[in-house]
Structure formats: C-alpha cells, structure tokens
C-alpha cells in the first residue's frame, strides 16, 4: 500500500488549565510508521499532550491552547480547521476500553455509518475485515449482534481497536491502552501494535517502562509539563543525555 507519509509535529505548544500550565513549550516530531512512546511520571502532561493531538482537549472547559500541531503540514488548531475530519485520522485507544452501548457489529460499523458511506453489504464485509484485523473475529463471529458490553475487557479493547481502524485513521493514539488489561490481553494488543506500525504512526502514553522498551522506536520523556528529552528508543534508554531522564529510567524518580 502506498499511502502518503503522515507527518505529525508539535510546535511551541502551551496548554493552560486556568492558571496552571499543564504543557510548557512542547516541541515534538512524531515519526511515521514508528511507534512513539511518551513516558514520564504521572501528572507530567503525557495524557494532555495526547489529547491535544486529536483535539479531544477542546471539550475540557477552561483550557487555553497556544502553539501549533501540524498534521501533514496543516495546523489542526487553525481557525476553521475540520475537527471531525481530523479526529477521523486519529484512532484512539483509551485506558479502559469504551465499547459503545450497542452490539459488537454496530460498534465497528459506527464510524463508517456516521461518515455516511458504503452500502450495507460493504459495511458487513468491512466489519469482518477489521474484526479479523484486530484478531477478534474468531471469538465473536457467532455473537456479532450481542451487546459489546458482554465481552471480556481484553476483547473489548481489541474491539475498540477494530472500531478505530475501521474509520481509516493515519495515526493511532493509545492512552495507556493496556493498563486495565491482564498480561495475555496486553500481549495481544502489543503484538497488534508491532504489526500495525508497518502502516500507521502509533503514539502511546505509558507509565510502564518495560512496555516502552519492548515496543517503542522513538521515545519522548516528559517531566512537569515539559519535554525533557526525545529520540530513538535505543539511544534514550541506553545513553540518556539528561540527568532527569537517567534518573527516571533507573527508577530513582517515578
């Protein structure tokens, strides 16, 4: 497949919540077809950064955002930017799986339907395709029309992945996407990520250092709302340049 290369970069991003600065002058380039892990102690702004990337932060009252987030060269915060179009390009996996209150089938079909495309037959085909893609098809093909809430947590998270992929994103965002899962389900999702980064830019927030080591090609280390260090995973983990990074990786701050 020859999709154009996605570029996502953040330039001089500040996010304030009331008087409190949550992100301070963040500059990051997220490489395409790589998995970027954003790491750092809790409360350092990892999740906020992720939520600025698909403008979910818009719905938090009292936030002020300055700076640029460039997706394919376009500032997503520019006046008149197409927010729903942007979000469609950014799949999201949240901390706890969020199956929509409908059947398994309808969960995957939801995005296709709201974007008003494709006749029924094609929707059914694509639902199957994406459920297979998320390695869930075999487990749910007998009960496609039962409520998604009846699936196990791990299955729900794969369903959310299938649902996200079905709208045709370019970037996959994961906010600690395995933190609610058991080890086997975590493996499932991690394996999927490894497979998917061949085709998508994946950005995950994680507080599990081992997971970042296992998966990441690129790492962004944040501390108190600032990006302290970023770079290729190998370099950052083996030869961190900054004192704070070294302290965090060695476990002396957390």
């Amino acid at each position: 497949m020859h999709t154009p290369r996605t570029t996502l970069s953040v330039r001089g991003l500040h996010v304030n919540y009331g008087d409190h600065a949550v992100l301070k002058d963040v500059n990051v380039d997220f490489p395409d077809r790589r998995l970027t892990a954003i790491i750092g102690p809790s409360g350092c702004g990892k999740t906020t950064l992720l939520r600025t990337l698909n403008r979910l932060i818009d719905n938090t009252e009292g936030t002020r955002i300055t700076g640029e987030v460039l997706l394919d060269g376009q500032d997503i915060y520019a006046r008149g930017a197409d927010v729903t179009g942007l979000r469609r390009k950014m799949g999201l996996l949240s901390q706890r799986p969020t199956p929509l209150p409908m059947s398994i089938f309808d969960n995957v079909a939801f995005g296709m339907r709201i974007h008003g495309e494709r006749p029924k037959q094609q929707i059914a085909e694509r639902v199957e395709y994406f459920l297979r893609h998320a390695s869930l098809w075999e487990e749910v093909k007998e009960r496609l029309h039962q409520p998604a809430g009846g699936l196990s947590i791990g299955q729900q998270q794969r369903l959310c992945l299938a649902r996200g992929l079905a709208v045709g994103p370019e970037v996959i965002l994961g906010d600690e996407p395995t933190s609610a899962l058991d080890p086997i389900s975590t493996r499932h999702i991690e394996d999927k990520f490894t497979e998917l980064k061949e085709r998508y830019a994946i950005i995950i927030v994680t507080h599990v250092l081992r997971q970042a080591r296992r998966l990441a090609d690129h790492v962004v280390f944040m501390y108190l709302g600032e990006v302290v260090e970023q770079g290729p995973a190998e370099q950052l983990f083996n030869d961190p340049q900054h004192e704070l990074t070294r302290a965090y990786i060695s476990g002396s701050i957390s």
């Binding site: 729903t84 969020t98 929509l100 995005g111 709201i114 409520p147 809430g149 649902r163 965002l173």
Partner: protein, 330 residues
C-alpha cells in the same frame, strides 16, 4: 492480645500519642466479649433494617386494602364493568359511572407529559452536555426551586395566566368558545410543574455517562450532536425513561393545581378545549361533603382505588420497559 505502644524515646511522647494509647487500652479491656457483641449487633441491625424495609410494601398493601374495603359497598351492588364504562354520574339516583373521570385523568396527564417530556429531556441533555459551568450554576438551583414551589401557586398562576390565554387566545384560534377552564389548561399547568422534575432527573442521569464514552464517539469523528444522540443518550436511555415515568406519576396524582383550572364538569372531554374532571379533583372536591347520599363515600373510595390502580399498573408496565432498556444499553 494486648496492644501496647513502645516508645524508643520517652521524651517524644506527645499528647496525641498519650491519647491514642489510652484508646487502645480501652479497646483492650473490652476484648474478651467484644466478638460476641459485634456479632449480636450485626444480627440485630439486620433485623431492624429488614423491618423498616418491609414497612414500604406493607404500607402500600394497607392503603389498597383499606380503600378496597371502603369501596366494597359500591362494588358489591354495581358490576365493575358498569362502574368503569358508564359515564352516568347521578349520585342522588345511585348511578356512579367513572368513565368521564378516567378519561379526564388520562387526557390531562397525557397532555402534560407530551408537552413536558420533549422540553424536559432536551433541557436535561443540554444542561449536561452543552452548557458551561456558569449556566449550570444558574439553572440547577432554579430547577430545584421550581420543584419546591407549592402546587397551589402553580394553580393560581394557571388561573391568572393560562386560563385567559386559553379563553382569549387558543380557543378562539380553533374557533371554539371556552371559559378557559379546560382539560388543555390543566395539561398546560401540569406540564410546567412536571418539566423541571424531568429536566433535573435527565440532567443527573446523562451526567453519569462516563466521559470515556464521549471521547470514544468524538475520536471516531462523530460531531458533538452525533455523540450525544448515538452514544450518550443511548447509554442513558433507561434513566431518561425513568425520568419520564417519574413525571408521569407526578402528573397522574397532582390535584390542587389541576382542580383549580380544569373546570370540574362531569363530562367526557371529547376535545381538550372542553372542561373535564380528573379523579384526584373529584376526590378532593367532594370528600367530606354530601356524605348523607348513600354510597357516595364508597364511590369516592372506589375513585381513589381506581387512581391507585392506574398509577400502579402504569408503573409496573414502565418498569418492564425499563428492564428491557437496561439490558439493551449494556
């Protein structure tokens, strides 16, 4: 086993430590029979709590039985079907047909609910999903206050404002002469009373939908409205339905405000611009009067029993629908 505090440095013994040590010493003394006491307390409380809980259904049963006993003289002399399907109301001749009252009740309630539900549900959704903190800070107390206004005040307001509105505005618009005291007036006043209740409950219910679900909808590229309608409302549907049931139940039983504006004429209101006579108004207007008429007392008791039956049947049905919705929403 005794609890003791050892201090490595006795000079560090602050007032709190001393107090703590004393407490522990007391607990120590209670020691031997403490387990027995706790178990006894546990059992006692279970019985007490159960007793209080059972009071509720027993109360309902007591009311129903009381009414049925008092209504018995009428039921035993007139076939039930006649009571329910006749609209002849001539107490002096011993004719008691309740159809006009039943129709009046249902009509007023339906008008009220049909008007209040869309306003209430949409306002509740707006408050929870789209309004900012400042609006909420203003609206929520106002709704609370609206709910706390005594119904007689709504009745007065109806007489002063809605009755003339119906007489001079709505009725002439439809080419009907009317005193303004109509079933529609009752329904309008009632809807204004029920609306804040529905709004409040819907607001609370929709607020409990987890934010993760909203994020999920939005992240798939749905607009705010699509997310609200297809995800949030869907999730909250059982609760929204419950809010409507509450509104319905309130509307069924509301007496004073309706009685003041509805006309209280014993007739089947064929259209809402005629006067009607709902059951609660019948009971409130007549109980304690004309008791010398044979069977009158019994007829009013039957009316009360009827109202109770209508409300209960409606609630039971609504609960069944609720159960089904809950299954679907999860």
């Amino acid at each position: 086993m005794g609890n003791r505090i050892f201090l490595s440095d006795p000079t560090a013994c602050t007032a709190e430590v001393v107090a703590g040590a004393r407490l522990l010493a007391v607990a120590d003394r209670v020691g031997p029979d403490r387990a027995w006491r706790r178990a006894a307390m546990d059992n006692l409380m279970r019985v007490v709590v159960a007793m209080f809980a059972w009071c509720m259904p027993l109360l309902l049963l007591a009311i129903a039985i009381g009414l049925a006993v008092k209504a018995m003289p009428l039921i035993s002399t007139t076939p039930l079907m006649d009571l329910l399907t006749s609209s002849e109301w001539r107490p002096l001749k011993g004719e008691f047909g309740f159809l006009a009252f039943i129709v009046g009740t249902v009509e007023v309630t339906l008008i009220a609910v049909l008007l209040a539900v869309p306003f209430g549900v949409l306002s509740g959704i707006y408050l929870s999903e789209h309004s900012n903190t400042a609006t909420k800070r203003l609206a929520v107390p106002v709704l609370d206050m609206l709910g706390a206004i005594p119904s007689v005040i709504f009745g007065i307001w109806g007489v002063v404002l809605i009755v003339p509105l119906v007489r001079n505005g709505i009725a002439p618009f439809f080419g009907v002469a009317s005193t303004g005291y109509t079933v529609l007036t009752g329904g309008l006043v009632l809807s204004v009373m029920v609306f804040p209740l529905i709004t409040q409950v819907v607001h609370e219910v929709v607020r409990t939908v987890p934010n993760g679900l909203r994020d999920a909808g939005l992240a798939l590229g749905a607009t705010n409205w699509e997310t609200t309608r297809k995800v949030v409302v869907r999730k909250a549907l059982p609760g929204i339905w419950a809010a409507c049931i509450l509104g319905f139940s309130r509307a069924f039983g509301e007496t004073i405000a309706v009685l003041m504006v509805v006309g209280n004429v014993v007739q089947i209101p064929w259209n809402p611009l005629q006067a009607g006579y709902p059951i609660p108004a019948l009971i409130a207007n007549n109980y304690g009067e004309m008791m010398s008429i044979p069977m009158y007392d019994s007829a009013l008791m039957f009316a009360a029993l009827l109202l109770l039956a209508i409300v209960l049947a409606f609630n039971l049905y609504a609960r069944r629908v609720l159960k089904r919705m809950e299954i679907r929403a999860n």
